[in-house]
């Protein structure tokens, strides 16, 4: 196939002044290869160091941009005419001056630097980037550590919690010696130890509608490592309002999810879940448990996607929801689509500022409910006293058998919350009954359910559950 390539004025000096070059070629690729073989000086202006057509070089075949055909694989017919047209771009250095790397940093990041997908430019981009981590728990621990190790130049961490020993099974950013310390301090020390070349900013605060915008503003990307619905919606909404990507992860027992919600490029969290689940339906990790490795895997996926977003990679989790089951060891993927009716990022958004997320998730009412129903309570010390006095008390434990195995109050009968109503006849209404769980929430639900089902006897809720019993009465009962 003989085709004609029209050479733009600027490049004619490399073709000996000719405005047209005749080439034998079957595709655009071949035509450009032929042209740049014949006129080698042209090559560096059309192709970059990675042998890709430079982003500002546009090729038209018979006045049609090849981008709207099949790119450089576009086939050519005899007599076709190719035109090379530059798009002219430029700009001041304000954000584009990337920080340089010291020799120490070059040595540290060498495994990144030798891959063309990262390279020196990518590593400098990582150094110029800033990421805000919401939480330093199960998800924040691995993602923060990998982002620090990867050389993300500025990492902010938000947390208000204190390290507890039950955190250590999965929150590997904290160590045994850190128990009792504020999480942000412990996390900061660990990240600094991993990489002294980066800046770490700590924000000792609970993320709220009042501070979210101010905190998010100073960072390029937000990594959501929260464990509750109000904060998850808050993170999403603040990211949409500010146009920032939200790298999402969540975990429960053996199952994890990950995605990238970036309203400018695809779906946001509300496109996927317009409404939160009714309160109490989805148990938290504290109630339901979580395999310690799971957040390690999901958090590492979040770090992976964060790095790709910074590097400008294409195949990120935008518009994709990754589902992972650690027990079956299976990954699945759902396609997401932006919802045009989404109240946050749709065509006519109705939410234009941050709202009260506790209320949105229905949490305020739940806390008030037990009081409204005049729930009778008893403290652990009072219970102990009555038992010592030899009062006839019936003790019902509504936790799960696996919890009962770890710790129990002597003389209790186990009826898990899900079975209390069907096994109502096992509870003697003529005796005074104390119901307990781990912390007092499930037992309150059990009492409510029993009353609704018509249970006639007197029911008392053990305030603070078996944890209070361990604290105030018998320290030999382990806390979990």
């Amino acid at each position: 196939m003989s085709v004609t390539i029209n050479i733009p004025t600027a490049l004619r000096q490399f073709t000996g002044g000719s405005a047209r070059v005749e080439i034998e070629a079957a595709t655009v690729n071949e035509a450009l290869a032929g042209l740049t073989t014949r006129h080698a000086e042209l090559r560096r202006h059309l192709f970059n160091e990675k042998n890709q057509l430079r982003s500002f070089v546009n090729v038209y075949v018979n006045d049609e941009d090849i981008r709207y055909q099949v790119g450089s694989e576009t086939e050519l017919k005899d007599g076709d005419s190719l035109m090379i047209v530059p798009s002219i771009a430029g700009g001041s250095t304000a954000t584009e001056i990337l920080p340089s790397l010291s020799n120490d940093e070059i040595a540290r990041y060498s495994r990144h630097l030798i891959m063309p997908e990262v390279g020196l430019a990518g590593q400098r981009r990582l150094k110029a980037a800033s990421v805000l981590m919401i939480g330093t728990g199960g998800l924040g621990a691995p993602s923060g550590m990998y982002l620090a190790a990867a050389g993300v130049g500025r990492i902010g961490i938000v947390d208000f919690d204190v390290v507890e020993s039950s955190n250590l099974q999965r929150q590997i950013i904290h160590g045994t010696a850190d128990v009792g310390r504020p999480k942000i301090e412990s996390a900061r020390d660990r990240l600094r130890d991993i990489n002294p070349h980066i800046e770490i900013e700590t924000h000792d605060a609970r993320l709220t509608s009042e501070n979210a915008i101010r905190l998010f503003q100073n960072y390029d990307l937000i990594v959501d490592g929260t464990d509750n619905f109000p904060t998850r919606y808050l993170v999403n909404d603040a990211c949409v309002l500010l146009g920032k990507p939200n790298v999402y992860g969540s975990i429960f027992r053996f199952e994890g999810q990950a995605s990238v919600f970036w309203a400018e490029k695809g779906a946001c969290y509300r496109c996927l879940y317009p409404e939160p689940p009714p309160p109490g339906l989805v148990p938290s990790c504290a109630e339901g448990g979580v395999l310690g490795v799971l957040p390690g895997i999901v958090g590492a996926i979040q770090a992976n996607e964060t790095i790709k977003l910074i590097l400008g990679a294409e195949d990120t989790l935008i518009n994709r929801l990754l589902l992972f089951d650690a027990w079956q060891m299976k990954f699945r993927e759902l396609k997401l689509r932006k919802d045009p009716l989404c109240p946050m990022c749709g065509e006519n958004p109705t939410i234009q500022e941050l709202i009260d997320y506790e209320e949105f998730c229905g949490l305020r009412q739940v806390q008030e409910k037990p009081d409204a129903n005049s729930l009778e309570e008893i403290t652990a010390t009072q219970l102990k006293q009555r038992l010592d006095e030899g009062r006839d008390l019936q003790l019902i434990d509504v936790r799960e058998p696996s919890e009962y195995e770890i710790a129990r109050i002597p003389g209790t009968k186990l009826i898990p919350l899900g079975q209390v109503v069907t096994r109502l006849n096992e509870i003697d209404p003529s005796r005074e009954t104390v119901v307990h769980c781990k912390g007092g929430v499930r037992s309150a639900k059990a009492i409510e359910a029993l009353k609704k089902a018509g249970y006639p006897g007197r029911l008392l809720n053990l305030r603070g559950g078996i944890t209070a019993w361990s604290n105030d009465v018998d320290p030999n009962v382990p806390k979990y």
């Binding site: 000096q13 530059p86 798009s87 771009a89 430029g90 304000a94």
Partner: protein
């Protein structure tokens, strides 16, 4: 050497001031006289095609716009001899980004606009090996 009339200097500067804090851009139409000299006969302002957020430090002239600019020039017996753009609150020196996106031969005029007023205007040409920009002399013609 780039020959610019006082009216062209004025047009480029005021375009930069008008679009501040965003970057402005446009074509320089004229003739190559005796390489490497060129004379500007007309400026051809172009609307910055960059998305809102990037406009503060980026400009983009789409190929269609360049083509229509070239056609306009051709009808008047002119050629595209270069481009101009502004650097809001930044010196009139090409950036690394400018270099990565530059074409040889053309003149690149950069006008520095500080707090809304044009304060400096310089012209540059890229070395044929793409290694750097060299400043080119501006001669004020008529």
């Amino acid at each position: 050497m780039l020959q610019l009339g006082p009216n062209h200097l004025e047009e480029i500067s005021s375009h930069g001031e008008r679009d501040y804090p965003y970057e402005c851009c446009g074509l320089l139409l004229g003739n190559f006289i005796d390489e490497p000299s060129r004379r500007v006969v007309e400026t051809y302002p172009i609307s910055n095609a960059r998305e809102e957020q990037a406009k503060r430090n980026r400009f983009l002239i789409r190929p269609e716009e360049l083509l229509s600019g070239e056609r306009y020039a051709e009808n008047r017996g002119l050629e595209v001899v270069g481009f101009y753009h502004s650097h809001p609150d930044h010196p009139a020196v090409p950036s690394q980004y400018d270099l990565e996106h530059a074409w040889p031969v053309f003149s690149y005029v950069v006008v520095s606009v500080s707090k809304g007023s044009a304060v400096d205007l310089r012209s540059w040409q890229m070395e044929p090996d793409r290694s750097r920009f060299i400043e080119e002399e501006i001669v004020k013609g008529n």
